[in-house]
Structures are given as structure tokens and as C-alpha cells.
């Protein structure tokens, strides 16, 4: 869906077209959920925030400025909701989970079946993200997971492009080092994906 098509959907949804509103949800809910899940590490929290963010957006569509991206607006609202919720939540990423080579419930002797590898991969990436400060985590997720351009990330986070790149480089480096500490799990992932 290009921006023109999306703008027409927004206009129709603002006029009360239910189908247009549903199309908007379906176009963005996956990326928003993935973003919030990676940020928070909590599926339940990610679901709640996704729903609340869409409700706020869809009940205020007349305020949307078409000069900006709809996704940027949606993610900005979601981020504010996440930060408010994070202030109340116990962090899902515990520092004692990091730097542990064995990880949670896994050992080097367990056979590498597909589901377990996927679970291991999920754990690995969760651990890798957990070592990052919030700002670096967000930049890495937006760039590598959601394919946002650096300029859009800079606008969304209200920081210079150079700062975004700096966070990106450092974030990748720290993720790589965290993965190196989970060498066994990574090796099992490599067995599946090579």
C-alpha cells in the first residue's frame, strides 16, 4: 500500500468506514506488535498497547497530518503508551539472564529440533536485545526488523541522523557480543539456517 492509498483509507476511516479502519489495522498491527514485543519482552503488554494505540489513533483520525507517515504517528503513540506502562511494569529483561552461556532451560546436550531451535533463537535474540539500552534497542528494532530508513527513525525519535547511526553501530556490536556469549544456542540456530 503506497501513501496515497493509505491516505484514502485514512479519510474513509475518518468518515466512519469500518472496513477502511480494519484495513488500516491489518496493515500495521503486525509491525507494531513485533516492535512492542521486542521492546518490552512481554506478549501481553504488547497486545494491550497495540490495541490502545490503535483505538487512540482511530478515534482521532481527523487530527492526523498527512504530511507525516501514518506509521510514525501510530508508533509514537504506542511508544508513549509503552513508556508509561514500562514505568509500572517489572522489567522482563533481567540482567542476570544475560551473559549466561546456557540460557534458560537449555543445555548443550539437548537435540536441536525445529521448534526448540526456534525457541532458542527467540531466546537468543531476546537476550541479545536485553543487553541494549532502550534507545539502542529501539533503533536496532526499527532499522533491522521494521526496515525504517535512518531519516524516518531520526524524525520519530527526534534525534539527529548521525546519532541514529551511532546507536545502530553500537547496538549491533553489543548484540554480537551477547550472542557470542550464548555460543551454544547460536550454533544450534546456525545448524538450522545454514
Amino acid at each position: 500500500m503506497n501513501r496515497r492509498q493509505e491516505q484514502r483509507l485514512i479519510e474513509r476511516a475518518a468518515a466512519g468506514d469500518r472496513a477502511a479502519a480494519e484495513s488500516l489495522i491489518r496493515a500495521h498491527q503486525y509491525s507494531l506488535y513485533a516492535y512492542l514485543l521486542r521492546m518490552s519482552g512481554r506478549p501481553e503488554a504488547a497486545e494491550d498497547i497495540v490495541q490502545e494505540a490503535f483505538v487512540r489513533v482511530l478515534t482521532n483520525l481527523e487530527r492526523f497530518d498527512p504530511r507525516f507517515r501514518f506509521s510514525t504517528w501510530l508508533f509514537t503513540i504506542a511508544k508513549r503508551l509503552y513508556l508509561n506502562a514500562a514505568a509500572r511494569m517489572k522489567p522482563a529483561y533481567g540482567s542476570d539472564m544475560v551473559d549466561t552461556a546456557g540460557g534458560v532451560g537449555l543445555g548443550p546436550d539437548r537435540p536441536a529440533i525445529a521448534g526448540e531451535v526456534a525457541a532458542n533463537a527467540t531466546d537468543a535474540i531476546a537476550h541479545a536485545l536485553a543487553v541494549l539500552p532502550d534507545v539502542q534497542r529501539e533503533v536496532v528494532i526499527l532499522f533491522h526488523q521494521l526496515d525504517w530508513p535512518v531519516s524516518v527513525i531520526a524524525q520519530h525519535m527526534d534525534i539527529p541522523v548521525g546519532t541514529v547511526k551511532s546507536h545502530l553501530h553500537r547496538g549491533r556490536r553489543r548484540m554480537r557480543e551477547a550472542l557470542a556469549r550464548c555460543e551454544v544456542r547460536v550454533a544450534r540456530v546456525a545448524e538450522v539456517w545454514t
Binding site: I25, Y33, A34, Q51, L58, I125, L168, R172, R176
Partner: protein
């Protein structure tokens, strides 16, 4: 050592090159240089591969729930969505309602403009001008009574000119044949019809504007009502427009020329009403008698 390995640069791959690669900013030539460097630097190659795996893990699909219905349920609790077919119906009736309101407003405006009496819910309080008009009506009636009184008295009065015509030294000008009355006007005071005794005073109804006090002389027996405009104290009398309009002469020196016009009722807009003393002038020159 193979020929291929002899051509490979041995310096460490710079971090900037690796970062540019993962930022998708590397041109083709730089990418080739990077890959050649990796062949000579296994440790660096392993780092790059590990970074590539991390990025790859981020891009793996997530098991995300479909929250569409639950979102729409929440939205509709705050703002209802209407089916497009129903939306057309709603839009149609909104236009009808808007048109009806417009018609009512237009109807009220036109009625207010051309037939305001139909919009009056309660009798309006009468303005002061209505009271003034009522007062005028009463004054006119009084003036008519005055006129009839003057006429009847004049019929009984003995004109000076009818006195002894043989009296010596007694001038008997035609103008003196009828008794003269003078009315001293005091401006600014409210007055009205004064019903005077039959003789010698005459009932006078005076309309007048603000002005200096002056003496207005009128001939007895005229039995008319007249309006008074500004009059100078010195006796010069200007001809009011109302008088000129009905044929009064331009000669304003003699107040008597402004003697009443029989049967004429005049009104002057914006009048003040004067009080005055009607004095019957003594034709013999003696002090006036009231």
C-alpha cells in the same frame, strides 16, 4: 601460498566498512573489498557473520495475534462506525434536517421583515412617543373646544372699533378693531392646553420649539391653533417654516402678521410645550389685564 591469497590485502577490515555494509550504504566496489578482506581475516569474518545472524534473528517472523476485532470493538464503544449503505441514509437525513432548519430560519426572517405582528408573543410596551401622540390627540380636542369658546366669546365681545366712533383722539385702526392678546412664552417648560375663562382670556394651545422667551401676539377671535418656532426676545419674529408653508407672509416684523390662521391646526416636530400667560392687551395703553 596460492596466487589468490597473495592478492588479498592483510589489513584489518575497518569498522566503518562493516557498519556501512549493515547500514546498506556500501557500493559495489566497497562490498568487493569487504568480502576480499574477510577471506584474509577469519576473526573479522566471524564477527561479521555473528552480526549477520543477529540481524537475521531480528527479522524472523513473530507469532502475532490478530487484534482487529478487539480493536474495533473498543473503537466502536467510543465512536460508532456505520456501514456505508447506512452512512448514505444518515447523510441524506442530515441534509433533510439541515434544509428544514434553514427553511425555518428563512421563514422567521421573512416574517420578521414583512409581517412582524405575527411574531409578537406579547404586547410591546408603548414607547414614549405613543404617550406624546396621545397627549397631542387630547390637546387637539382641547384646542377645538377652545376655538369654539373663542368664537362664542368673540361674538359677545365689543370690539374697540365698535366703541364710540365719535370719541376724540381715539384712533380706530382696522387692526385694533379686535382685541389683541399677547402671550409671553417661557421656553423649555411643559405646558398644555389651558382652559381659560371665557373672558377676557382665551384658551390657547401652544406648540413651540426651544427658544428664547418672547411675546407672541395674536388676534382675538381667530380661534385657531398655531405653532410657535423660535422667537427672539427683541421682538423680531422669524417666520417659521410651518407658517411659510401655508402662506404666511415673509414680513416678519409685525408679529400680528403671524396672527393665527383660522381653522389651521399645525404641528411642529420635536416640539417643546410652553407655558405662557395670556394677557389681554389694553387698547388704551393701560396695564394689561390678566
Amino acid at each position: 601460498m596460492s596466487n589468490a591469497r597473495r592478492d588479498i590485502p592483510r589489513e584489518r577490515i575497518p569498522d566503518e566498512l562493516v557498519d556501512a555494509y549493515f547500514d546498506h550504504e556500501l557500493d559495489e566496489g566497497s562490498r568487493d573489498r569487504l568480502f576480499r578482506g574477510m577471506l584474509a581475516d577469519p576473526e573479522r569474518a566471524e564477527e561479521l557473520a555473528r552480526t549477520q545472524r543477529a540481524v537475521g534473528l531480528l527479522r524472523e517472523p513473530i507469532d502475532a495475534p490478530d487484534l482487529t476485532e478487539s480493536i474495533m470493538a473498543r473503537v466502536e464503544r467510543r465512536r460508532r462506525f456505520i456501514h456505508p449503505a447506512q452512512r448514505r441514509t444518515v447523510r441524506h437525513w442530515r441534509l433533510v434536517a439541515a434544509g428544514a432548519v434553514l427553511a425555518v430560519v428563512l421563514g422567521l426572517a421573512l416574517t420578521q421583515r414583512y409581517a412582524p405582528q405575527f411574531l409578537e408573543l406579547a404586547p410591546r410596551p408603548r414607547p414614549i412617543t405613543a404617550v406624546v401622540e396621545a397627549g397631542r390627540a387630547e390637546a387637539e380636542q382641547g384646542a377645538r373646544q377652545l376655538a369654539s369658546t373663542i368664537t362664542s366669546v368673540a361674538a359677545r365681545a365689543t370690539p374697540v372699533a365698535d366703541a364710540d366712533p365719535n370719541a376724540a383722539g381715539s384712533p380706530a385702526p382696522a387692526a385694533a378693531a379686535r382685541p389683541m392678546y399677547s402671550l409671553t412664552l417661557q421656553p423649555g417648560a411643559l405646558a398644555g392646553v389651558r382652559t381659560l375663562p371665557p373672558a377676557p382670556k382665551r384658551e390657547v394651545l401652544v406648540f413651540g420649539g426651544a427658544g428664547s422667551p418672547g411675546v407672541f401676539r395674536f388676534a382675538h377671535g381667530s380661534g385657531v391653533l398655531f405653532g410657535v418656532d423660535r422667537f427672539a426676545v427683541a421682538g423680531r419674529v422669524g417666520v417659521p417654516d410651518w407658517a411659510r408653508a401655508i402662506g404666511a407672509p415673509d414680513d416678519a416684523e409685525d408679529p400680528a402678521s403671524l396672527a393665527p390662521f383660522p381653522g389651521t391646526i399645525l404641528r411642529v416636530p420635536g416640539i417643546d410645550r410652553f407655558v405662557g400667560d395670556v394677557v389681554e392687551e389694553n387698547s388704551s395703553g393701560g396695564p394689561p389685564r390678566r
